[in-house]
């Protein structure tokens, strides 16, 4: 595999070299105006003034990738990869931080509906996205809970022109994937709107005949997205944005999913320098699943209904050109109704945040901010962050930031009351520990308590992290290089422990703050625009992600492995401790975009490499070492899209995904080569 990867790399280099031969004069019209970033500071800031690691994906790049869903697109970003946990839930990993600790926003507001903490981003259609902004490193100082590893913000299209404009496209591909996408917008005087609908269906597929059932069952889903902008006056502007997603999966039984968001926003400009935004956000996520076996017995029955209301008021004050203050106050009112809970549960929290940006001298930008979250279920959190950027030259900036993040214990960790009917173990949330144990004791199901009765229900702390980022950004328009060192220290991570033994030989598990882990490494991103036709970019991340306690146990010589052949036991050396599951030491990508101007066509080739990683411990010593046999070998995926515009308004696109045909079975379940053809009409 490495050979193939190398060969491709060489190919890309040689193409680049060839292209360089016909390098022409700079054509300045090709460079866009400097990009404005929203997510890093919650106000519009030029990308060159932002002192923390950011990545953006433009609408153009989304289109030229040929992808339909957010998870597919993000995987091609440096340092980001999609992982699947032991229970089979998908999520995005960034800087080695797993999906539970990454906040995903649509237009600045959070998406809910996580499975065991993981957020499956294949739910998010990307046909109406203006751009995606990714901020790495803890961002709880602005966004509160869950933003430990960073924030991914999906910014939807806004009304642009007076003339009705938009596109219609349809595509068909492997696994009978059929997709229709309609998107248009218009802006007339003080009213603007956008409309988006996406319908996607597939017959699913099965990668492993030995396992019962399909790898992916047939599904149909539909996404609706709308915006309505109304300028009441020059100073008062109102917006309503909504999104609705529905999915049905064909299984023996039924499986349905709904996801809805509504944002109402009023922007009041008091003066040239002060404006206040009043925002009301509502989102809900519902998933109902009922699975039957062949004879009609219920195998699995689950209902999940989560709702969030989040009102917020914030004021942005541009004190001077080089100083700005943002202050906000808001509340989060959450509820979750789940059949594994005794009754519907509620979380309420209130927060205030403030951020001050200043540029005392032209070369220096400093941003200081903090947020205070008060919560009904756990102790209050203060999340500060400080960042500074210094322009050594016009093209070279040093960036550094330190911030903290937290994740509130989730509903499951507080209220779960679940007994596995097949095996017989029980898992209970912190809040209901005493109650459940009492009940089981009354029913004579408990043999003995392992934990002192007084310690039951001892409150959980929020999981927290401190993240450090330091890097260099070199931006010479035609070529940019971004280099960043990162370190994230997590503490109080929630793990399970045994509370009591049951008569059936199984245990009752509860939750406890215990684990301390870290992720650290280097990210490099480089982009080189050779000429009007060719753009080459590459990215790399080196990662070390380990559990501090386990590392110390190895240091003390307390961790062993047994050779399965000789049954001989040996000590694990520090160099043999591989680290956390699902972490690859190396992630790399190369992209080449070739624009054939004369033919109105383009070729967009991307290769992603992920080095070997392990799924779980297999030799019983509680950590992943080089002797475990759950390692997935390193592999590359190659994605290619080719497009051609004809008759001015029509575009034909061919997309090949995983064209090296590196099928991955096991947990990852990555299907082999897939081909899609798409026809688009722009108006």
């Amino acid at each position: 595999m490495k050979v193939r990867f190398l060969a491709l790399f060489l190919l890309i280099i040689s193409i680049s070299a060839l292209a360089q031969d016909n390098d022409q004069q700079d054509s300045l019209q090709f460079y866009e105006l400097e990009e404005v970033i929203l997510t890093a500071t919650r106000s519009e800031k030029k990308s060159s003034s932002i002192p923390m690691p950011i990545e953006t994906i433009s609408r153009e790049r989304i289109r030229k990738s040929g992808f339909r869903r957010l998870n597919e697109l993000l995987q091609e970003q440096t340092g980001i990869t999609e992982t699947i946990d032991e229970s089979g839930f998908r999520g995005i990993q960034m800087q080695g931080v797993s999906s539970q600790y990454i906040k995903v926003l649509i237009d600045g507001l959070p998406i809910v509906g996580r499975s065991s903490g993981n957020l499956d981003l294949s739910r998010l259609a990307i046909g109406n996205i203006r751009k995606i902004e990714i901020v790495k490193g803890p961002s709880s100082s602005l966004y509160g809970s869950d933003a430990l590893g960073g924030v991914i913000n999906i910014i939807t299209e806004k009304p642009k022109k007076e003339k009705l404009n938009g596109d219609v496209n349809a595509s068909f591909g492997t696994f009978n994937k059929a997709e229709t996408n309609i998107s248009f917008n218009q802006k007339k005087e003080n009213i603007g709107y956008t409309f988006f609908v996406n319908a996607l269906s597939s017959s699913g597929y099965d990668l492993n005949d030995e396992l019962e059932g399909n790898t992916v069952d047939p599904y149909q889903n539909i996404t609706l997205g709308n915006r309505l902008h109304f300028d009441i006056s020059k100073r008062l502007k109102a917006k309503v944005k909504s999104r609705l997603y529905y999915q049905n999966i064909d299984i023996n039984g039924n499986s349905e999913e709904w996801d809805a968001n509504i944002i109402t926003k009023v922007d009041h400009k008091w003066s040239e320098s002060i404006n206040t935004i009043y925002e009301m956000y509502y989102t809900s996520y519902q998933a109902n699943q009922k699975v039957f076996d062949e004879v009609g017995n219920t195998l699995f029955d689950s209902n999940f209904d989560q709702q969030l209301y989040q009102p917020e008021i914030r004021t942005i004050w541009d004190i001077k050109e080089d100083q700005e203050i943002i202050t906000g106050i808001g509340g989060r009112f959450q509820s979750l109704d789940r059949n594994l809970f005794k009754s519907s549960v509620n979380f309420n929290s209130q927060y205030v945040f403030s951020q001050y940006s200043v540029s005392p001298i032209e070369q220096l930008n400093i941003i200081v901010g903090a947020r205070f979250d008060q919560h009904s279920e756990y102790e209050s959190q203060l999340s500060p962050k400080i960042s500074a950027g210094y322009h050594l030259t016009d093209d070279l900036m040093v960036k550094t930031s330190v911030g903290s993040g937290f994740k509130a214990p989730d509903f499951r960790q507080l209220y779960l009351d679940f007994t596995n009917s097949a095996v017989g173990y029980t898992v209970v949330g912190k809040r209901v520990e005493s109650e459940v144990i009492d009940r089981l004791q009354e029913n004579d199901q408990i043999l003995s308590l392992i934990i002192d009765e007084d310690d039951l229900g001892e409150p959980l702390k929020a999981e927290s992290s401190v993240g450090y980022n330091a890097g260099l950004k070199f931006d010479k328009k035609r070529y940019t290089i971004d280099l960043n060192f990162f370190r994230n220290d997590f503490s109080n991570l929630i793990d399970t422990r045994i509370l009591a033994r049951k008569n059936n030989g199984q245990n009752i598990f509860g939750y406890i703050n215990r684990d301390e882990v870290y992720t650290q490494g280097i990210e490099v991103d480089a982009n080189y625009q050779l000429n009007d036709n060719v753009d080459v970019s590459g990215g790399y991340q080196l990662l070390y992600a380990k559990d501090d306690n386990k590392k110390e146990a190895v240091e003390r010589g307390e961790v062993f492995y047994r050779d399965p052949e000789t049954l001989e036991t040996k000590k694990i050396e520090q160099s043999e401790y591989f680290g956390l599951p699902n972490r690859s030491r190396h992630l790399a990508n190369f992209k080449i975009y070739y624009k054939w101007i004369a033919k109105n066509a383009y070729v967009n080739l991307r290769i992603n490499y992920r080095s070997k990683y392990a799924l779980f411990d297999t030799n019983g010593n509680g950590l992943i070492d080089v002797y475990d046999d759950s390692f997935v070998n390193g592999f590359s995926t190659l994605n290619l899209s080719i497009g051609k515009t004809f008759l001015d308004d029509y575009e034909l696109q061919l997309v090949g995904e995983n064209i090296l045909n590196n099928e991955q079975t096991g947990l990852l379940n990555l299907p082999g080569i897939r081909v899609t053809a798409r026809l688009q009409y722009n108006f």
């Binding site: 017989g424 043999l447 003995s448 008569n503 030989g505 049954l567 779980f616 297999t618």
Partner: protein, 211 residues
């Protein structure tokens, strides 16, 4: 069984006596340490999978190096993943044997050969209504259960030091929970509850060393 043991005992006594007569050194000869691997100790259980667990424990005696039906002359008793010692009190689970002696266990970390001595600083733990001396459950006592593969693996580096029912010492390492200790375990094919373990028994009274 008992008669057999009596005869063995008599023969052994005669041997010792005759030996000492011959050599004229002290009255007791040093018995040599035995390191053995016991294969496929079958420890079945009823119930489990959500039902109360029951069934007779399989008892093992270090002195004879074999399983035994004796109600008193045993050191450890196994049922499924549960291991009892012949010391302390009953834990409360169904069908468990009565504890008749003062046996106990110390759990140490190390390789089998690393452990050469009974640690002086630690106390032997016995079964009690609060639980087994060797804690049950994945990751607590001697094994870890992998939810992804459904395999029960003995935790490597866990060495169990037993005080036996007759006051001798033994160290033990569990090697496998599956019949014939397969290299590549298939939890659906390979039969579980068959212990393979290695142990060293020091038959000399008062001696705490294992080498």
């Amino acid at each position: 069984m008992n008669t057999l043991r009596l005869i063995t005992f008599c023969l052994l006594s005669i041997f010792i006596v005759s030996c000492s007569d011959d050599d004229g050194v002290g009255t007791e000869a040093e018995l040599s340490l035995e390191t053995e691997t016991f294969e496929n100790l079958h420890a079945p259980q009823q119930g489990g999978q959500g039902q109360p667990v029951s069934g007779e424990f399989t008892k093992f005696d270090f002195e004879t190096g074999d399983v035994t039906d004796s109600d008193t002359d045993w050191d450890i008793a196994l049922r499924g993943t549960t291991i009892a010692v012949n010391g302390g009190e009953q834990t409360g689970t169904d069908d468990e044997p009565e504890r008749t002696s003062d046996a106990g266990v110390i759990i140490e970390s190390g390789t089998f050969s690393d452990i050469t001595q009974v640690p002086e600083t630690e106390d032997f733990v016995q079964d009690s209504p609060n639980g087994f001396a060797i804690p049950s459950g994945s990751g607590n006592g001697w094994y870890s259960y992998d939810f992804a593969t459904n395999i029960i693996n003995p935790i490597p580096g866990k060495i169990f030091i037993f005080k036996t029912s007759d006051g001798r010492y033994a160290k033990l390492e569990i090697l496998s929970y599956y019949k014939d200790a397969p290299t590549d375990i298939d939890p659906f094919e390979d039969e579980a509850r068959y212990y393979t373990f290695r142990y060293t028994y020091n038959p000399n009274e008062g001696q705490t060393n294992f080498d």
